[in-house]
């Protein structure tokens, strides 16, 4: 059955407001500068709240539609109409976009609210909210586009916002460098994405979702084309989502203010890669090799991230590597295909809650510890900041998958699905996911225990840590509620995500392979998680040395980010630097010298020319005339002869 998105009507014909409101707010904040200093942050929060309320209204409107495919497609105007290419500025609101809209605006609103408190002492608070609103607008455009070009516009828009916010404190060299690194590595992925768009147009003559999916379904394109198309999109997805081999920018992105880490580099933007693959599911399902590559990237990255996460001492970097690892689980899910698409999306939503909560909790800790981030210098904080401790603790238990918190409902089924992939790869990827669960339990326990329990290891200048103000703790509490309840809600309630997304992932057929049953998978995972937790507790319940200690090769490698940065430096940066230097030298000497020599042949040496330059126009006219006469003569000779 060909994919067709019904045109928007009624309430849903105003979905463009979702993007327009935060965009307008960003424009006001950034254009009118100091005039908005006093109330700018409130406008920023209000605009996201407005989008969230609209998102709820649209959500229920969409639920009310009875068509076989609940969707509202809205073409606003001709964007790029040239020849056979007809790109509309078009939006699509369907079940998949709907849940992303709610996640972005809902969690986004809470984090905006939190930032009012967190950024209250920063002189750049207005600018911060301008960028933050810009991000929300771009992210909403990304998930609302009805063709790949609009998605790409949003895609690069969030990249810009991410850059601006990572290097928000641009006078810090580390922040400026981290922002640049993020943008450039993202551009590598974007180059893949945009090339995929070219290939779509060359193959299907269109860049609209519906046309591309129907083109794939028609089997007119060869399997090789599908594979290349998918790999190019995957490259884009890896860049945005910090997946191997484009993972190195994400931990450095922690240079930005903590609300940024929570919203952009944990809950929303970094899941855009998952969105892209889920959105393109008819394409990815059409090629088994492609799916295997996605699964392999996910499985590898989830282990990669969790190994490094266990060796880091910076509270935000541990969480960042944890994000890399958790998105690995989501890639695993979307790669498995079939029923696992919905599982990946459930994990994405649940992760949005608990990881945002964890980051905001980390921000709350930093707020009271004079912006220190070294967990070796924390300890015993539970007594001083009970709300932060409790909410962080719930997020922690949720991410490691303790029942009945949301991580349990969202992660365990992915592990089970991985085991049940057909053939021996099922065992391989399932084991990787299982091991990852144990590692997650270990590094999160380490993080939690070192931060909140054990002896105090603070530096002398911190006398009395304090709980954060209500504007910060209320979002923490609400997100903790999400950490508890989201999983069960998304899996078992009438609002369960699987049923809601059924029209999007049009292939609910069970795979028919069952290596292990549900109870086995759950049981094994639980045991592995307990082992990881126990090791973490045993090693770190008494705290740790305040300085970094020498360590064996594995820990040393993990501290060095498993040599990812070193690889980029030796293979790309250094040779690139030498190449540009050599070219600059050559361009000044070689090519220029050659052409200067030729020029000297034509018009005398440049030194002589400089001397005669006062009469230059005259000599120019003369030489022009001379040359012209010569050539006329030659031409006439040719023409007559």
């Amino acid at each position: 059955m060909p994919v067709h998105f019904a045109a928007a009507h009624g309430t849903l014909s105003s979905i463009w407001l979702l993007v327009a409101i935060p965009l307008a707010s960003a424009a006001i904040l950034l254009l009118f500068g100091r005039f908005t200093e006093r109330w700018g942050h409130l406008l920023g929060v209000a605009s996201v709240l407005a989008s969230f309320i609209l998102g709820l209204i649209y959500f229920f409107s969409l639920r009310g539609l009875s068509s076989p495919y609940r969707a509202a497609s809205l073409n606003l105007f001709d964007f790029i109409p040239v020849g056979g290419l007809k790109v509309q500025f078009g939006l699509l609101y369907d079940p998949l976009s709907a849940i992303f809209v709610l996640l972005i605006t809902g969690v986004g609103f809470l984090i905006h609210l939190y930032a009012v408190g967190y950024m209250s002492h920063d002189e750049g608070r207005r600018r911060f909210f301008g960028y933050f609103n810009l991000f929300v607008a771009a992210m909403l455009l990304l998930v609302l586009g009805n063709n790949y070009v609009i998605t790409f516009v949003g895609w690069e828009g969030v990249g810009l916002a991410s850059y601006l916010l990572i290097s928000f404190w641009y006078d810090r060299p580390a922040a400026a460098t981290a922002g640049k690194k993020a943008f450039i590595m993202n551009r590598v992925g974007d180059a893949g994405f945009v090339t995929a768009i070219f290939l779509m147009f060359a193959t299907f003559g269109s860049v609209n979702f519906a046309d591309v999916f129907n083109g794939v379904a028609s089997h007119g394109a060869g399997q090789t084309t599908i594979l290349i198309l998918g790999l190019l999109l995957l490259l884009g997805a890896c860049g945005k989502s910090g997946q191997f081999p484009l993972q190195a920018w994400l931990p450095d992105a922690m240079e930005g203010p903590t609300p940024v880490s929570a919203l952009i580099h944990a809950a929303t933007m970094v899941t855009a890669g998952v969105y892209l693959i889920a959105r393109s599911n008819p394409l990815f399902t059409a090629n088994l090799t492609l799916q295997t590559v996605v699964v392999a990237v996910g499985a590898f990255t989830l282990l990669f991230g969790s190994i490094i996460g266990g060796a880091k001492d910076d509270i935000k970097r541990v969480l960042a590597w944890s994000t890399v690892s958790q998105i690995g689980y989501m890639f695993l899910g979307v790669g498995l295909g079939g029923a696992a698409y919905a599982l990946a999306l459930i994990h994405l939503l649940a992760h949005g809650f608990f990881k945002a909560g964890l980051f905001l909790g980390a921000g709350s800790v930093m707020h009271s510890m004079k912006d220190r981030t070294d967990i070796r210098r924390f300890g015993g904080l539970w007594r001083y900041m009970p709300i932060t401790w409790a909410t962080f603790g719930l997020g922690y238990l949720s991410i490691i998958g303790i029942p009945p918190l949301s991580g349990f409902f969202s992660k365990d089924p992915i592990i089970e699905s991985a085991f049940n992939r057909a053939g021996w790869t099922g065992w391989l990827f399932g084991s990787a996911a299982l091991l990852g669960a144990g590692l997650t339990a270990f590094y999160m326990t380490r993080l939690f225990v070192l931060t909140f329990h054990g002896p105090k290891r603070w530096t002398e200048d911190i006398e009395h840590p304090h709980e954060s103000p209500a504007v910060m703790t209320i979002p923490l509490v609400l997100l903790a509620v999400g950490s508890i309840a989201a999983g069960a809600l998304f899996v078992y309630s009438p609002f369960n995500v699987k049923d809601w997304l059924r029209p999007v992932f049009n292939n609910p057929a069970a795979e028919g392979h069952e290596h292990i049953g549900q109870w086995w998978a759950t049981g094994m995972t639980f045991v592995v998680v307990l082992i990881g937790l126990a090791i973490g507790l045993l090693l770190f319940r008494r705290g740790t040395a305040p300085q970094e200690q020498p360590a064996g090769p594995v820990v040393a490698a993990a501290r060095a980010n498993l040599f990812g940065d070193m690889f980029n430096e030796t293979v790309f940066e250094k040779p690139g630097l030498y190449l540009t230097r050599a070219l600059v030298y050559l361009d000044n000497r070689g090519i220029d010298g050659l052409v200067n020599g030729l020029a000297a042949l034509v018009g005398g040496s440049s030194g002589r020319l400089r001397r005669t330059q006062t009469g230059f126009v005259r000599s120019y006219a003369l030489s022009m005339l001379g040359g012209a006469l010569l050539i006329v003569a030659a031409m006439l000779a040719v023409a007559l002869g």
């Binding site: 690069e156 006078d171 299907f204 070219l583 031409m635």
Partner: protein, 513 residues
């Protein structure tokens, strides 16, 4: 169609203005500036009227005018504008007043005549308009050469370090190209006389000639090399960084933003329709030169330590994109290339003007003399960043649309070329962001704080200069249709003249096998 002689008035007007301004006494610099500004604004209004009058669905060439000139050779004063030329005229008419306003104080301190400087700018406007409006090949050639003279004096008399070297080099390169083109023009005239029975330089008549393969190829090369030097394409580019680096910022904006477009415009208007077979024959050469330019220009831009030279090298990369768009011979590639010519004028024009503002304050154009400047001048730093974003073709700014079209149009016929060119967008991010980082971000360079001028953020005059460019970049970034609709028919006509058509998608639309 209107009977008002738009094009001759538009060409002649600035020349009259230049004469008026040049005659003003040196003691009245302010008057000279105001007169020049008002005059250029009048040209802008006239162009706006033309743009509004132009019927995108009408005939290709509108605003035709033709007057007797040299009957013996068959040369006439013929002006015509198609959509491509019209867009370029609009760009000129917009940039010149902004450049005049941006250069307001640039020559105050120099011991040179202020009225002459602004007269030269107006004279330059006349020649630039003439070269795009001409439809008589000899007239085109004359404008092509005369255009050098005001620019030569702008660089040589009002430029910065090594200005004389740069001016002479600029002149020499253009001279060589011009001579080759002159030879080809004459050769074309001879062929035309033999076939038509009378000598003519009329573009329409000459596009219908039949030539032997060898003649066609030689004549093509004569034009092509001239245009490749002007554009400039690798390996004819080395004059540009010197000229762009030495020219005063306003002149550099016009040099890179407009003058160089004559090269790519010339390829589209002259090389392709006059020598269709040779164009196809040499297309691989054009593609390769352009492709090398994209990567080479970007790598060299990364390695520069001088802001103006850096921007010049980025332009070499951008001209590479225009080049592949043209030689791909697809509707998207060609339309993208022309749109790129406009967008590059806006974006790089803006970048040069903002760099000029930075350099004027710091008294140096070396990147290493800046560092952390955004702290002192947040608004100027922000505008610099926006110009950079436009230069790296971020979606939402108009250069994205053109770059996207160029790459997409190229991809449908030459996948490898397009894929390699796409690497250029990664390098663009690198050179722009590194430039921004080294100048405006990071720890504040202590030397900057000692320069009083570095504490002055943008003045109202400077804001007026950048605002129209930023607004246009954003507006056309989201809604390029008013421009693409004007360009598209002319591009289609050009490609139908050489007999190429777009490839069909490999999978037919509408499902089914």
């Amino acid at each position: 169609m209107s009977s008002f002689p738009y094009l001759s008035v538009l060409t002649g007007g600035p020349l009259v203005g230049a004469a008026v301004v040049a005659c003003l006494p040196r003691s009245r610099p302010q008057l000279a500036k105001v007169v020049a500004l008002v005059w250029s604004l009048a040209a802008l209004v006239l162009t706006a009227v033309m743009y509004a009058t132009f019927n995108a669905n009408g005939s290709r060439f509108q605003f035709r005018e033709s007057y007797q000139w040299i009957p013996f050779w068959g040369a006439r004063f013929t002006f015509e504008a198609d959509g491509i030329a019209l867009v370029m005229l609009a760009l000129i008419a917009l940039l010149v007043p902004l450049v005049i306003l941006a250069s307001w104080h640039d020559v105050d301190s120099a011991k040179r005549s202020v009225p002459t400087y602004f007269a030269l700018l107006l004279a330059l406007e006349c020649t630039m308009i003439g070269v795009f409006a001409a439809a008589d090949i000899f007239l085109f050639y004359v404008f092509f050469e005369v255009m050098l003279v005001p620019m030569y004096f702008l660089i040589g008399s009002y430029g910065g370090q090594r200005r004389q070297y740069a001016a002479v080099k600029f002149f020499l390169y253009s001279l060589v190209g011009g001579l080759l083109m002159l030879a080809a023009v004459i050769g074309l005239w001879v062929v035309g006389r033999d076939q038509l029975g009378h000598g003519t330089f009329d573009w329409h008549q000459l596009t219908s000639l039949h030539m032997s393969t060898t003649t066609e190829r030689w004549l093509f090369l004569g034009f092509f090399v001239a245009f490749a030097i002007k554009a400039p394409f690798f390996p004819f580019h080395t004059w540009l960084p010197d000229a762009g680096g030495a020219a005063p910022a306003g002149a550099a904006a016009l040099l890179v933003g407009v003058l160089d477009k004559v090269g790519t415009f010339g390829i589209l208007r002259y090389c392709l329709p006059l020598f269709p077979h040779a164009s196809k024959y040499f297309a691989p050469l054009g593609l390769v030169l352009a492709l090398v330019g994209i990567i080479y220009g970007a790598l060299l831009a990364i390695g520069q330590n001088d802001l103006k030279r850096l921007v010049s090298y980025t332009s070499i990369a951008h001209f590479g994109f225009i080049g592949i768009g043209i030689f791909a011979f697809t509707t998207q590639g060609g339309t993208g290339a022309v749109l790129y010519m406009l967008n590059h004028g806006l974006a790089t024009g803006l970048l040069f003007l903002v760099v000029g503002m930075l350099v004027a304050r710091r008294g140096s154009s070396l990147v290493s003399d800046f560092g952390g400047a955004g702290k002192l001048m947040p608004v100027l730093g922000g505008v610099f960043f926006i110009a950079g974003l436009a230069s790296l073709a971020l979606p939402g700014t108009s250069p994205f649309v053109s770059e996207f079209l160029v790459l997409l149009g190229t991809f449908t016929v030459h996948k490898t070329v397009a894929v390699i060119a796409t690497v250029g967008i990664i390098l663009a991010a690198a050179y722009v962001l590194w430039m921004v980082q080294r100048t405006t971000q990071g720890t504040l360079n202590p030397a900057l704080e000692k320069v009083d001028a570095m504490r002055r953020d943008m003045s109202v005059r400077e804001k007026v200069v950048v605002a129209p460019l930023i607004v246009l970049l954003l507006l056309l970034g989201f809604y390029p249709k008013p421009v693409t609709d004007v360009i598209n028919p002319a591009v289609k006509a050009t490609f139908s003249q050489i007999g190429t058509s777009d490839p069909n998608p490999t999978v037919a639309q509408g499902g089914g096998k």
